[in-house]
């Protein structure tokens, strides 16, 4: 089974940047930083673990795509799945680790009788990301159809490419 070298390179890069680095980052960070984050109710280690998981899934998807031809229906399905997965990553980033927030992040803390609530509203970019994902899926489908039609033009009717011999006259 052949695999495209480009897919392997991308998969390794994604694995290093999004999985290995986030897993090692907490051990390289000063402990007081981690304590400061957790005292504010922000679970940095949990967030980095989620990023590592996302990186792992993403690199597997990229690697899998490398095994299939662009004319394959599995390639199209993997393209759509990885596009939707990128959308989830965008939601994850915009929601500071909470995909379900869709870019509306609410952080509350209470100290000395004072309740402090911070609200970040960047939902516009979540909606724009949905539109971009839709367009990317349409593009993947059109590219797949294009690749299929090219194959059909090269091999119009014969199921096997058997060379024909001229009859002797």
């Amino acid at each position: 089974m052949k695999i495209r070298k480009r897919s392997v390179v991308f998969a390794v890069l994604i694995l290093v940047i999004f999985t290995i680095l986030p897993l090692y980052a907490p051990s390289m960070m000063p402990q007081e930083y981690l304590r400061a984050f957790s005292s504010q109710g922000f679970d940095l280690v949990g967030l980095l673990s989620k990023v590592a998981f996302i990186g792992l899934v993403m690199s597997i998807l990229v690697l899998l795509k490398g095994f299939f031809e662009k004319t394959s229906a599995i390639y199209l399905a993997l393209s759509i799945v990885s596009t939707v997965f990128w959308l989830l990553i965008v939601f994850f980033a915009l929601g500071v680790g909470k995909m379900e927030n869709l870019g509306l992040t609410v952080i509350s803390s209470e100290a000395g009788g004072v309740l402090n609530t911070l609200i970040f509203d960047i939902r516009l970019f979540a909606y724009l990301a949905i539109v971009i994902t839709g367009l990317k899926i349409v593009h993947s489908v059109l590219k797949f159809k294009e690749a299929k039609s090219k194959i059909a033009q090269v091999q119009p009717s014969q199921p096997f490419n058997i060379p024909t011999q001229d009859k002797p006259t």
Binding site: G113, V114, L115, N116, T117, L118, I119, F120, D121, I122, L124, F125, L128, A129, V131, I132, L135, K136, V138, H139, L142, K143, E146, S149
Partner: protein, 157 residues
């Protein structure tokens, strides 16, 4: 236009859309943080609490001349409220001000706390909450940041 060209055009359109979205995201977040750091700092805000001796009312006054050194226009929203212990409004008022990129604009917000809402006529003896809401929005008010401070007031022993 051939099918191949349409696919290429769509691809280019998607890339352009992505670049535009990322640029707007970076620009608006930069503007929000810039507005937060410059608009409400450097003595641009003035907060006063005074008592009208004739009526016994307290008057909270917030005014300022916030600057916007960001690259996009921003709208600043201020709201002050006094609530009783059940969370019901005793007094509430709000104002908003549009500050163009590279400019400044004045605003003023006053809140009158009626004397009958203050037991004994002394604010220090009153029980309830003071709520201050500050919001900054940019990109046609589509992107924003809000900070709500709710301070609980208890009667002095």
């Amino acid at each position: 236009m051939g099918k191949m060209n349409r696919i290429k055009a769509l691809r280019l359109g998607i890339i352009g859309f992505e670049v535009l979205t990322i640029a707007l995201c970076v620009l608006s977040i930069y503007t929000l943080f810039n507005a937060l750091s410059t608009a409400i700092s450097g003595g641009t805000m003035n907060l006063n609490l005074e008592r009208d001796e004739s009526t016994g009312e307290y008057r909270f006054l917030l005014n300022g001349n916030p600057k916007n050194t960001g690259l996009l226009d921003v709208t600043l929203f201020f709201e002050a409220a006094v609530l009783d212990l059940s969370g019901n409004d005793i007094a509430r008022n709000s104002t908003s001000v549009h500050v163009p990129a590279g400019g400044a604009n004045q605003f003023s917000l006053s809140l009158t706390i009626p004397s009958d809402a203050i037991p004994g006529g002394n604010l220090e003896e009153a029980e309830g909450y003071f709520e201050l809401r500050f919001a900054v929005r940019t990109l046609g008010d589509l992107v924003g940041f809000t900070n709500i401070l709710k301070i609980g007031g208890e009667a002095a022993p």
